[in-house]
Symmetry: C2
Subunit: 343 residues, 2 copies
């Protein structure tokens, strides 16, 4: 295992860093399985393998990156604690990782975050401070708070250690596909700031260079798609309504986009309607509870199903933290799969 | 692997038969993970590992036994097909296994079975024939139909091949616990006719003889508990209302009870209310979709939590085939975990 040291010394996300993260996470993170439904495969005319990170500790992949980052903090910096800002899944990941390592954690959360995410973050032992999503500059708030306390900031995505932790999702996919003797044509992954997508891509392209990687974003927040098209960072105006709270970001990160533009073949933007239908498909066919943002990749695959016909596709379900009432409402409003496929 | 031969020659469920079933199921059945939530562990004061068979192919453990049975049918008996009777999960298991092996399947189902189970059984390619749950003798109907066609009956639980297939759940638990270096104190498992419970017990007791095994039944259908108390087969009167359609049986099987009475320490009966609360806990904390009968073991553990305090417990979630509307209704009526624990 690598020495504990600040990320300052590391600017590149490497497969070695991802393998080190996998070692740190062994026995702590869930090695989520690859799940499939032959019925769904037949209905869609392709082979789909789901990587259900909703089953991950804290209900999303975010635990992987947060724990990796915190476990690499040098001992002398741990007592001053960590500060993070997050709409909820990173918050829970950092809070749970900090709890495991005995590090004090303060989390800035938007006041409109889903109740389940706020409650869980407190449950893991973190202090929660609220900010206004469309008013406050959360990063500036976090930096001020961290400098006052001498605490370390755990960035939600644009950080080599965080990215290498999320990359263990990709490493597991390559190992599981290998074990199952499956050749994966494509991987579809939801994207917000790009931590998961960039880490996953780094691991996957090292082991399965022919596999194409695609991302899925909510309509109105297609900053990665626009950035890929422009071959440079593009910001979108925040404000469009979306149910995908977990993956609402105005622009990708510098580090993440640098990786994404090398490895990702393209992206698809999905509507709330398409995301709701995908959630219901995961309920009906896979018995998985996924949150809206966590379903974006399946929503994109359903939208683009003709393009992916006949292929073997891994779909990442990135999180499952959704309130009971929201889930029930979405189930009641979503279409049956047959109707989705008829559209 | 064992030769294909009718089960007539085998009357004992052995670990070797279960290991043979595991080989047959390799790459076809999902090797469901052991999942846990540190929050739930802390709230309940014990370590709980869930074995989520709702993630199994066809949405329940039943695929394991059905495929094992069918794959051991001699070639010359396959063309005449198979007949099964089932409230739904065994139906789907047999239909899917028959589809994989190219064997024609006819399934007798109660007319009030959940829509999702009927539709899925047809989707897998089986012919569905309805019977009246409280009027017709489903076993007699099945036997007449099978003898008319020369078809083989796939009994839902009281069959050595079926039991050995379900036993692979237990085999996996022992291997996963070993890999994770966990000493399992107790296993809680839902029980209907006892196929899963008896197969699981056989595998577990061979490898972890000190682990205690418990079963959970719906109120009004506690035939296994009553049979254990009487040390002989006891039948209950069918008719009490329950939401646990998957595990409604009037009495355990002869073969299954013979194993259960040797290996099972006792059982707990659970109310619809307790089952609904358990379903909501699996939604909130584990992001799993479980059907009512599939949650009976967790319901029992919540009910008996003081007795199991401080222990390491594996809870089997046996299935997840539940309609959207039923699931939403149950989520809206169920209590929050804090209220369950306060009661």
């Amino acid at each position: 295992m690598l020495d504990e040291e600040p990320a300052g010394g590391r600017t590149q996300v490497t497969v070695e860093l991802i393998e080190d993260a996998a070692e740190r996470l062994h026995g702590l993170a869930v090695r989520t399985p690859l799940l499939e439904s032959t019925q769904l495969n037949e209905a869609l005319g392709m082979r789909i393998l789901f990587k259900p990170e909703c089953l991950q500790r804290t209900g999303s992949f975010k635990f992987r990156g947060a724990y990796t980052k915190l476990s690499r903090l040098p001992m002398e910096r741990r007592h001053a604690g960590v500060v993070a800002y997050s709409s909820g899944n990173h918050a829970q990941g950092v809070a749970a990782a900090a709890g495991l390592l005995g590090i004090p954690a303060t989390i800035l959360m938007p006041s409109d975050a889903p109740t389940i995410k706020i409650e869980n973050t407190r449950d893991y032992g973190a202090e929660v401070v609220f900010f206004e999503r469309n008013k406050d500059d959360r990063q500036a708030l976090a930096e001020r708070m961290a400098s006052e306390r001498g605490a370390s900031i755990v960035a939600p995505f644009d950080d080599v250690d965080v990215i290498s932790g999320q990359g263990t999702v990709g490493l597991e996919i390559t190992r599981q596909a290998d074990y199952m003797n499956i050749s994966v044509d494509d991987i579809l992954c939801p994207v917000g700031g790009g931590g998961l997508l960039s880490g996953l891509s780094t691991a996957v392209k090292a082991h399965m260079p022919l596999t194409r990687i695609w991302c899925a974003e909510p309509e109105g927040y297609d900053d990665v798609i626009q950035s890929l098209a422009a071959d440079q960072l593009v910001s979108v105006t925040v404000g469009a309504p979306t149910i995908c709270d977990a993956i609402v970001t105005p622009q990708p990160g510098w580090i993440t986009f640098d990786i994404i533009k090398r490895f990702v073949s393209g992206g698809f933007s999905v509507s709330d309607r398409e995301v709701m239908d995908a959630m219901a498909v995961l309920f009906d066919r896979m018995k998985l509870v996924a949150e809206p943002g966590g379903c974006a990749a399946l929503a994109a695959l359903l939208q683009q199903r003709r393009q992916f016909a006949g292929r073997t596709v891994v779909v990442v379900v990135s999180g499952g933290n959704v309130d009971r009432a929201d889930f029930s409402r979405i189930l009641s409003e979503a279409s049956a799969l047959e109707n989705v496929l008829r559209a």
